[in-house]
Amino acid sequence: MEIHIAHYLIVAGILFSIGLVGVVVRRNAIVVLMCLELMLNAANLVFVAFARMHGNMQGRIFVFFAITVAAAEAAVMLAIIIAVYRQRETVNTDDMDIMQG
Amino acid sequence: MHLSLATLIILVPALTTLLLFFVPAKKVQVVRWLAAGGAFCTVIISITMMATYDKAVGGWQFTQVVTWVEDLGISWNVGADGISVAMLLLTSLVIMAGTLVSFKVTDRPKEFYILLMALVTGVFGVFAGRDMFFFYFSYELAVIPMYLLIGVWGSTNKEYATMKLTLFLTAGAVVALIGLLLLYWHTKEFFDANPALLEAFRNAHPDFSDATSSSFNLLQVQYAAKHAMEMGGPASREFFSLGFQLWVFPLILLGFGAIAPMWPLHTWSPGGHAAAPSAASMLHAGVLMKLGSYGIIRIGLTCLPEGAAKILPIVAALCMMNIIYGGMVAMAQKDLKFVIGYSSSSHMGYVLLGIASMNVIGLNGAVFLMFAHGIMTALAFGLIGWFYDQTHTRMLPDLGGLAKQIPFIGVCFTIMALASAGLPGFANFASEFMVLIGSWQEAVRGNSWFFLYTILAVWGIVISATYLLRAARWAFFGPLNPCWEGKIKDADTWFWRAPFIMLIAALVLFGCYPKLLIDVIATGTGPIVDIIENARQAVAGIK
């Protein structure tokens, strides 16, 4: 049977939500980063789907830039994780609550 | 360029504040005499304004208009009509006395005088301002110096009192701001709707020949209100309808009422009085409380007369609480400054009653009482400040028979007590009597509640006589409390006596011959009462 744009959007929605659940649930900073990457990819999927529907290249070029930005972000986040790990020997986000209230 | 007197009276204290910045803190005498000089200039200016004010012409004189912010229609728009001249005179006398009295301040005098002068610049700005933004700008300008004055140089639980005072003043100012803004945008729409009237306004006023539709100029708003109300019945017309006025007038009333302490919002003022150093409480009680009632007259009555006509009778009921409740609480106070504090809120009740009576004699009496009460309270706090610096206690039970030790201050305090009890020969009597006539006249005109209000007001005079004489009796007469034997120095030299004598002279001069001031005030209140009069005719039908 025919695959409509809606199917792609639903898949993207599911992926996005899984990414959200991951960010919320997991304590390990690295896994949180991975889930963030997943969320960005879900958004890329929506872009490609709509690009396909409208038939113009803007969506695809947007995905191209999105991927580069995601890469840069991943690099910086990992750098920060390493710096924090060197300070406290842990990447568990629950231990990082010195500042509160 | 030519600086009109009204601009000068604002610029002089502002200039003194700036000059004081550059005087090194060590040179205390220079600081003091510079501040006193500044204050003296304002006295000279206000007296010349009083003298040269042309009563025949009346209306706004000494005007000056300089555009400030083009796009929003804000301009440095100052001038003085009958009411402002009286208020400016009051402020300059009080600041003169305040600066002289605070020659005794030893802790950081430079900052003290800078803040005092900034405070007074704000107050002058309000009384001489004709632009709604300028009015609000200088109104808020006076709040923070008062906070710091009380906070740093104050006495009993100053933190709590000063914070409460500042928050109350700001809340009041901000509520009034929303009212002003509604008026501003409403006038803009009105003039956009009928540009012909804007043309007519430009020709009528040479000063504002380039006025745009959106402007904070008070005269423009009054002009719009007047013409809008001529267009149709209170409910039917589109601009400045009764509904709009019943919405905006309470905002202005509550905003300014919080400062002229209307009954439920008055709790900040006695605490503020008691905690403040003598100069600050002189300015605070003497002048700051008058800003509120001045605001109600200047903006409330002129721009929203129908709203005022409907709501002022309710305000009159609140004034009764002010007078009787305030008087009773004053009677139960042990601290002398609290007694004077509550008596001020009780006297301001008369001012509001005068305004609420909405007739010429009532309004004249109200403005004259603002003047008289201002001088009287400033005198009271100056005197208390004098002996408080030496005894460090104001509790009536500890004081006793001070008149033997400090006779001059004793005599002045009795004069003050009698003046505040409404004794003829002092300005308070003439003004209170006119307010009573005004409120009885309103009762005869139809609002029969005012019979009760007048009776209670007269009874308020008796109450105020009771607690003031009791305070005088406790503090100054009777046997001298042994612990003050030889410890307190009297105001012996002519220099220390000057502020008190100046204030008493003002009270007696305008008490014995009130015509001097009342004719000037009458030129100011006349047009306002006419506006209120036609508004009442229009609103008479609608319940």
Partner: protein, 515 residues
């Protein structure tokens, strides 16, 4: 529209070159000489600032980079704001880094790259470059926030900031995807089929209702994503911790730079993309957004001001106060949206926001420079109680910080007062429109919050003047920082009293906002 005409993009190019020069210079300079890289940055940026102030505000909008870069009055105004922020941050951080003693070259280059990002954000004309330049700004700020890598607080601030930031980026991308899906076009203004300039908002306006719903979902997720930059309510959570953790100059840069960038984008999206209510359309898209932003503005105002009352740490207090100020700026946004919904032309809200941001820069910078001086560059404690008796210990510092605090509180002779006045006046104007009477409740909320904010600002002033100093070792005011602070204070007072020319500058922005 289809030319690159690079001459319009000279400021950005100049900035990138400046950043590269700093990076390279860092390699060749001896370790101790590296710290005057800060002066190079400050010098370079002041040249740029002078150049920007020299260029006249353009009457019409010009496009560069094939229509993806628009140079109009609003962009120029904001670039001036960013340039001034850059200079002040550079001056502030030289002293700070000298004390911290690590990696000045990278620090200043990152600051400059962040500035380039902000310049690009100011004159963005499509979603793609919007996303990329915004990510450039946030990325640099992630790194700068975690710059003191040996300090636990800075690390923690970095982690929290990047997790929330990345999530916001994801949401924004998701939003943009749906708007692109609905309209099929990423650029705000593009050459339509008949050679005429077409606004994206026109295409959105004449979408049929199904796609309108997608576009509305896209707008909501996008604008709420932008709320992260601006510290609006659902996205305010990171602000207190990051403001406290990050090094003080970075906090200053964050509080002014990224907040201004966020507001520019929201204004751009509203003016260029959000459609006015088409007469026939049933789904009043704009009306929904007005209600959404009114709710957010109210919550932000009350949250920021109320949570600031019990604060003990001054930097954390500045965090909550910046949430409060975001609330006031959102009032302006609501005013703009309401005016757009009613199809009005004048956008007083935008000039109010522009003026408020201009005043906010100097007030906040003065405050943070004061904090840097007080803590002598160390990050130990910013507790408010340490500021007790500052009036006696360092009168000039106390005076400047008091004026800054009072300007934040909105006390008349200072800039903050007229800013708040202008914003509340614009929201009252919006409340005059028929159907939007209930906006007066927002104006009342703004008024109440002036009083609440007055309380906690005065608590700090109270400690400075009314209490006795706890420790009495003297505070040395380094000359450059002192000059910068005094300059800011003088400007705050001057803007406060002579608002005329500055309001002129702000209203000049309106002309070229639309097309």
């Amino acid at each position: 529209m289809d030319a690159m005409n690079l001459h319009l993009m000279l400021p950005e190019i100049y900035l990138v070159l400046l950043g590269l020069v700093i990076l390279i210079a860092d390699l060749y300079l001896a370790p101790e000489k590296r710290f005057n890289l800060g002066w190079w940055t400050a010098g370079g940026l002041s040249v740029l600032a002078v150049w920007l102030f020299a260029t006249p505000t353009p009457e019409t909008v010009e496009f560069a980079g094939f229509g993806l870069y628009r140079a109009d009055g609003f962009a120029l105004f904001m670039k001036k704001v960013f340039a001034l922020t850059g200079i002040l941050v550079a001056v502030m951080s030289t002293g700070y880094l000298k004390r911290y003693g690590r990696g000045p070259g990278e620090f200043f280059s990152l600051v400059i790259f962040a500035l380039t990002g902000m310049f690009m954000v100011a004159s963005v004309n499509d979603f793609m470059s919007l996303f990329v330049s915004l990510e450039l700004v946030t990325l640099c700020l992630f790194i700068l926030a975690a710059y003191r890598r040996h300090d636990k607080l800075s690390g923690e601030a970095g982690i929290k900031y990047i997790i929330v930031g990345a999530m916001a980026a994801g949401l924004m991308l998701f939003g943009m995807a749906f708007i692109y899906g609905a309209t099929g076009e990423v650029r705000f203004t593009y050459m339509g089929a008949d050679g005429q300039l077409v606004l994206l908002s026109q295409t959105v306006a004449n979408l049929e209702s199904g796609w309108q719903m997608t576009a509305l979902f896209g707008f909501t997720v996008l604008l709420v994503g932008l709320g992260f930059k601006v510290a609006a309510v659902p996205f305010h959570v990171w602000v207190p911790d990051v403001y406290q953790g990050a090094p003080t100059p970075v906090t200053a840069f964050l509080s002014v730079g990224s907040k201004a960038a966020g507001f520019i984008l929201i204004i751009r999206v509203i003016t260029l993309v959000v459609p006015t209510i088409a007469p026939g359309a049933d789904l009043a898209l704009v009306d929904q957004l007005v209600k959404l932003f009114a709710l957010i503005a109210g919550l932000t105002l009350f949250y920021g001001n109320l949570a600031a009352i019990p604060q003990k740490n001054l930097k954390r207090l500045m965090g909550f106060s910046s949430i409060g100020h975001a609330g006031y700026l959102l009032l302006g946004i609501v005013a703009v949206l309401a005016m757009k919904a009613a199809g009005e032309e004048t956008m007083n809200g935008v000039s109010a926001i522009a003026f408020y941001l201009f005043a906010y820069v100097f007030t906040n910078m003065a405050m943070f420079i004061g904090m840097v001086i007080f803590t002598q560059g160390s990050e130990d404690s910013h507790a408010i109680d340490d500021y007790a008796g500052l009036g006696k210990r360092a009168p000039l510092l106390a005076l400047c910080m008091t004026i800054a605090l009072l300007s934040l509180a909105g006390v008349p002779p200072l800039a903050g007062f007229f800013g708040k006045f202008y914003l509340i006046s614009s929201i009252v104007e919006a409340a005059r429109l028929d159907g939007y009477g209930w906006l007066l409740v927002l104006a009342a909320a703004g008024a109440v919050n002036v009083v609440i904010s007055m309380y906690y600002y005065l608590c700090v002033v109270k400690r400075m003047y009314m209490l006795e100093p706890t420790s009495d070792e003297p505070i040395h005011l380094p000359p450059p920082a002192k000059i910068a602070m005094v300059a800011c204070i003088v400007l705050v007072v001057v803007i406060g009293i002579f608002q005329g020319p500055f309001v002129q500058m702000a209203t000049g922005v309106l002309a070229t906002l639309g097309f």
